[in-house]
Amino acid sequence: MTINSPDALESIRQEALKALSVREESNHSGKAEAAGLDKGTPHLQILCCGGTGCKASESATIVENFRASLSAHGIADKVDVIVPGCFGFCEKGPIVKIVPDNTFYTSVRPADVEEIVTSHIIGGNKVERLLYTDPGTGQHISDSKHMNFYRKQLRIALRNCGFIDPENILEYIARDGYKALATSLMRDSLDVLADIKASGLRGRGGAGFPTGVKWEIARKFDAPDKYVVCNADEGDPGAFMDRSIMEGDPNSVIEAMMICGYCINAHHGLIYIRAEYPLAVHRLQVAIGQAREYGLLGKNILGTGFDFDIEIRYGAGAFVCGEETALIHSMEGKRGEPTLKPPFPAEAGYFGHPTNVNNVETLANVPVILTKGPQWFASIGTEKSKGTKVFALAGKINNVGLIEVPMGTTLREIIYDIGGGVKGGKKFKAVQTGGPSGGCLTEKHLDIPIDYESLAAAGSMMGSGGMIVMDEDDCMVSVAKFFLEFTVGESCGKCTPCRIGNKRMLEILDKITQGRGTLEDLDTLENLAKVIKDTALCGLGQTSPNPVLSTLANFREEYVEHVQNHVCRAHKCKALLTYSIDPDLCKGCSACARGCPAEAIAGEVRKPFSINSEKCIRCGMCLSRCKFGAIKVF
């Protein structure tokens, strides 16, 4: 069936809205009373998270179990099972949400399904033990709206994630999907572009270049074949924003690419996506297929004469391909090496054709900016950074997950209010933003309202949105080394500063963690870092020293301790550690010996055990297993 005019789209939307109305209404009204078939609720919906994180915890089995159970009870016609994208609260996954009463079940196991069906779906009694417990008050919270994790969030790019079925284009249309495209195609493309400029939207991939300006430049280069490229090569380790958007709301990316195409006079779209994201690839393929089926991709879209189609290109695991020139080379079937700009891709990109590259999250903002207006978007955020930012909050934090907050939110709000503070009551040490190109910020930075400028001024960067929290057990020299190992492995090898400079820096860091470093090494490290920053060819090289520079600036005393006292206060640098058992404290329970993977601990039960330091691999297993504090580390 083809949607051949904006009016036809509107009538489809009205029709599609019916299926979504239960969810929409419960979202606004938020009834606390449990719904159930026996209580007279005519229809219920079960939303079972289908994001990668929850799938890793058997959410697919949970879905199967729900379907089987509903059939067995003969109520499959009264209850829908929907598999939306990521809800964001990954720490408590798998998530199952019931509407109309908006009950948010956490950490659901396949075995819990039957109880949810009989007790809640049929009986109308919530399963208390699966509700979220507020760590502060100890109270159960049933509706996610009232959880601290969600309260300070504002979900714009993630507006449909965890709400609609990403494999059903009609649900996207019901949520005003393709409306921005329809209205844009009726307007002058220059006016549409002016709206994007006025919204103040900036690139969410890291650099923060104004999106409207980028489109304006791309528009200037006239050519028969022009390309809109979606950069979905999310390579930052520990970042999964773009993946979640593609898994949860693939149509928003497709719609935005078409609007971009209309603004810059391009008719070809390419999505460059990591092959490591099979689920996101699948959801995109489904979405593209459905959009074509409805005539929303292809020739003469909505009867306006505008043509646009999208193809998917696969990455093959190279971090540098996030850089736009490298990405373009990779799409051309070559090694993903960056080239000097100019010429910018806007002038000569994919096979020499003018090309505009935008990141997934940037694109996901575009349709909603146009439906709600640029002023609305510009009213959110800080002076220079408008709108919201999605962060993948992870590491030593209580609430690992995907969050979206207005620009200008402080790190403290994110880590303590949304993230629930540091895991295990440990002391906060640092938060790493911007991935391998970013830096580590400390306690003193917690109250900075975050935006592109403030993070850069503090020695880090926004990056694509990875945010890793570290506690007192993390060694900052090792963290810097970890990131440098990553960059050295991912350096394409084209320019000398990055290929050789980073390798030298890594060697020095390795020396320091082995306890062989000198104070002069710290100066050399700093000098090298600055030279690489100034001279490397592309963004990867220019930013690769950031983790070293920021840890040197904020945690210099830890470097000095490693070098002068041969001490790693976090007990991470193995070469600086010795494990032993205090015979006065050891009860001879053998827990350490049984847990030791190297079989380095021996002894007789009820007598003090001892560690063979030659066999000991310093893994710390004994330390974590001893209940009597008898394991000593020096």
Binding site: C90, F240, P597
Partner: protein, 156 residues
Amino acid sequence: MKVSCEALRQVEAICRKFKNDPGELISILHECQNTLGYLPEEVQRVIARELGIPASKVYGVVTFYSFFSMVPKGKYPVSVCLGTACYVRGSDKVLEEFKRVLGIEVGETTPDGKFSLDCLRCVGACGLAPVATIGEKVYGRLNPSDIKKIVAEFDG
């Protein structure tokens, strides 16, 4: 290891499906690896001939991207996530333990062809960190002491 004639014919067919277009090299390599499990030299030479480009170009691309492998993977490919979230929750120790238990280094396959060991950067299940995957199955909240038991599950 010798690649069968049948496999090489499959490679030719894949190249032709993509109209022998050098611009499609990466897509072709993906499909060949999906079909054969790895990309040995003979396969790369056939692709080069079909596409009319030097074998060195194909080799250059295969070795550039970490997703492509020139050695066959084990029956149970083990991948330990070394993303930052997993790293700060101790994935380095999990990796060490896998190396020790399997007796191989990263990028290697056990002599019986059963297990291969690799690292990857973020599965996206950061809530379960540290994470490793064996085949399609994801193992979360790992402790080095779990590894022996997990490997034994597959060793039977």
